[in-house]
Symmetry: C2
Subunit: 172 residues, 2 copies
Amino acid sequence: FAPSAQDPMWGYFTAIAGQDGEVDAEELQRCLTQTGVSGSYMPFSLETCRIMIAMLDRDYSGKMGFNEFKELFTALNGWKQNFVMVDRDNSGTVEPHELSQAIVSMGYRLSPQALSCIIKRFNRGGKIYFDDYVACCVKLRALTENFRRRDTMQQGAVSFQYDDFITCSMSI
Amino acid sequence: FAPSAQDPMWGYFTAIAGQDGEVDAEELQRCLTQTGVSGSYMPFSLETCRIMIAMLDRDYSGKMGFNEFKELFTALNGWKQNFVMVDRDNSGTVEPHELSQAIVSMGYRLSPQALSCIIKRFNRGGKIYFDDYVACCVKLRALTENFRRRDTMQQGAVSFQYDDFITCSMSI
Ligand SMILES: [Ca+2]
Ligand SMILES: [Ca+2]
Ligand SMILES: [Ca+2]
């Protein structure tokens, strides 16, 4: 037996992964829609699924193996708890000022202009849904990590070559 | 009469825009799905609609007025023609090597590593659909313009402050 064969999630994973034994963005979207992990929230967009896979995809295959798949479910539960806390008035959506507060309280130091760009990008009709909240947080974290990794002197400024800038900003 | 009232597209625009007189991403998605402007291709994702609006949205409202709306239809027709040319084997999708060639022939100078990151991000099952092709091209153009605007000495390198880097890469 492979060790994973004993894991209760293994059968579920193999059913979703199909023949190639890995989960891609479309398979993930179907699975999240079926399991109802997004609760009463809207089903996940393909875009958010891609961003989540990109975050965990250490071998850059664009797909998830079993361990990455389990990590994702743990992470999703974390975001769900976080979303419920950020949604202070319990409206089921995060409003612009709630998103700003959440980003600041996660420790990001961003100007009001940057925050307003982020809100503009991720709101629908003035509200941020769970799906987009996750996409926003994952993207912000990945971009910040990319930046910090290059900011070795911690000066808050990084000199990017064009090729590196495009790779960083197009891949997440 | 406002000058736009004479325009044959005006009635169409007002019907889509609704009460606020501007077209947001969800209204655009509905309209593109109904008009079948994507032809035999898949309907546009909300993500691609947002990227297209971000591209034309000069007043940063996240919505499109009438002139932006007309510009978008012109641009979409251009991309459609371009897509048909790039899809050399007429398969209805752009394959990874076709996308690489297209990006190079548009004048972007990117390393094989950067090209492969882009392909990984925008393919579905090894194919790039029209929807994602448009998202990819618009994003690449906007990011390149953002970079060049800062690269005043044309050295191929830009020093980004953290806040500016996040604004650039999160807003498109
Ligand atoms: Ca709320
Ligand atoms: Ca509207
Ligand atoms: Ca083709």
